[in-house]
Amino acid sequence: MKDNEKCVGCLICMFACGRAHQAAGLESSCIKVRSQGGISRGFSVFVCRGCDDPPCARACPEDALIVRKTGGVLLKEERCTGCGYCVKACILDAIGWNNGKNKPVICIQCGECAKSCHYKVLEFVRK
């Protein structure tokens, strides 16, 4: 997150995240854009920061989330039972949910969101 103050709340980054997960729409998006209590106060953007010791992975009872060396986690879909513990464990609320599959959608650290934001609110850095 580079500069929340410049966020205009257009949700273009959310839709970009959806597309990065081969979807059109918002359901598969891992990004959340929220107003800070009414639009006049501006917006906050919540996105996966690729924790080194990710609580989401620790919360998963099935070991379906594999910690990546380069940051973030990878979902082993076949192991996931759709319990949703990971979603609750991430205090950034940076995990999406695919209702059709009943599985989480995990940030793949592609940087598409940052690329699509005209206002340079987001910045993507590889570790």
Partner: protein, 586 residues
Amino acid sequence: MIKEDPLNRVLYIDLTKKKFWIEERPELFTKYIGGTGVAIRLLHENCPNDIDPFSPDNPIIFAVGPLNGLFPIASKTVAMFKSPHTGNLGESHAGGRSAIAIRMAGYGAIVIKGKSERPCYIAIHSDKVYFRDATTLWGVKEGLSVGSLIRRQEPGAGLRTIMRIGPAGEKLISYSCVTLETYRHFGRLGLGAVFGSKNLKAVVISGKRDINVTNFKEYKQLYEELLLQLAESEKMKKYHELGTPANILPLSFSKGIPIKNLLTNEIEKIENISGESFAEKHLGRRVACSHCPVACIHLATLRKPYEDEPYFYRTVYLSYDYELIYALGSMLGITSSEDVLKLIEAVEDMGLDAISTGVILAWITEAFEKGIINETMTDGIVPEWGNTECYVELIRKIVYSNNELFNDLRRGIDYTSSKYGGKDFALTYGKNEMPGYHTGYGAHIGYLFGARHSHLDSAGYAIDREAMTTQKTVEELVERIIKEEQWRQILSSLVICFFAREIYTSDVIHKCLKLSGFGFSEEELSEIGREIYADKYRFKIKCGFDIDNLSLPKRVFEIPTSLGFIDKDFTDKAIVLLKEKIKSLL
């Protein structure tokens, strides 16, 4: 349409019985696309012709289209209802979070009928609909925001829309608006009053889903191309930077901006209320409708001292636009940006349509000068050009005073001037107050014949701009107006923001429609545009709209436009021709 697309689902809500149900209507959407096209069909189906606009049977219809949620800047919702202001077609468009929220909740349209016994608000969260008690919210005065109270109660932060009315809507003022997300509005033609008549304080909608496309790879490519154009094209620059108020200076330079009820087209210090001046002095933040990278919504900060206590200030954010600066600025002889903001605040607090309110205040001022109304009738207020305090007072009186004049003013100036006199300078078109362009024939004839009497129907001011270099004959003008309005039926059925009309060319629209599972040929598309336009006129006429008795306000002939004086002969001919053309479509 793609088979599983939820677009074809219409949500019906009955406020009397507190019931809701969903009907699948694929035939409606495959034929009329969505937005305006579907809304007018639903209006025909659900609104009996002879009802009072405040009857529980008057439906409130919201509709979105196939591109909402799929492509950037397809971010608007169409609302339709029988207008309490004109007695016929009520149509209004708004963005904010609304379109994306309705689409993501899984609907193409929502129809609200009946009347709640007590004040209530409706919360729609995907497939669930809740009827919530709003007794506590009813009568909430300015200052305490209904939006923030609802925000605390409902889920869906960030993606939901919260549409609500103010005191004006509760009091059934025929030009009250519905406010969305604090800064966007279903402004014109009185949707707020229809909400009020149903005891409906607010509607909250949220949802989240994915939508299918026919070819994901092509979709992604086209999406990204469009995004780039929206960001970089010169065509969008104006909205990016100063926003619509960028028009103030060029229009005043070409004498196209109405001043003091159009008693003149010149005023000193207009540069103080220009887009440049607002940006420099007040711009506090820019925000966007959902799924639009342009972010044309400019929020100004207004710092207001407390009168009874030193070193206490209140800072409010207010959104400003060209039309507001015209109606609450130049039209009232106000040339201070701070004063314009004070009036915007008053209008926002009450939940009134800013354009109608400004034009009404201007009429009051002139009527007062001419002795048609006097101090006893105005509860002692003396309206005066440029005097912001008296206008703020008048706005409050219109909403709260019970004297006869203010009661009448709650129905607009067509009604008031019919009763008291002063019709020659009542700037209304088909009973709707004038938008801010006095640019020439295109603008005025456009307002008069537009299905909703708005400058957005056919953009007559843009036609006038062309006419500055090449003069148009009556036939050419009429042709252009009709063609543009019919094409706009397509844009507003897809519900694309009109600001992007030059990017969404017919070629781009074809590609977008194909990807969302609609295969219309070019002829089919223009046929649909024609049909929707005719359908709107059918509804108007069914409600008693008298197409044979339309004329322009006398005042517009008295003050030169950007193109010089308007010639009565020319407009008479254009009116006759337009009537014929429209009748031949029906």
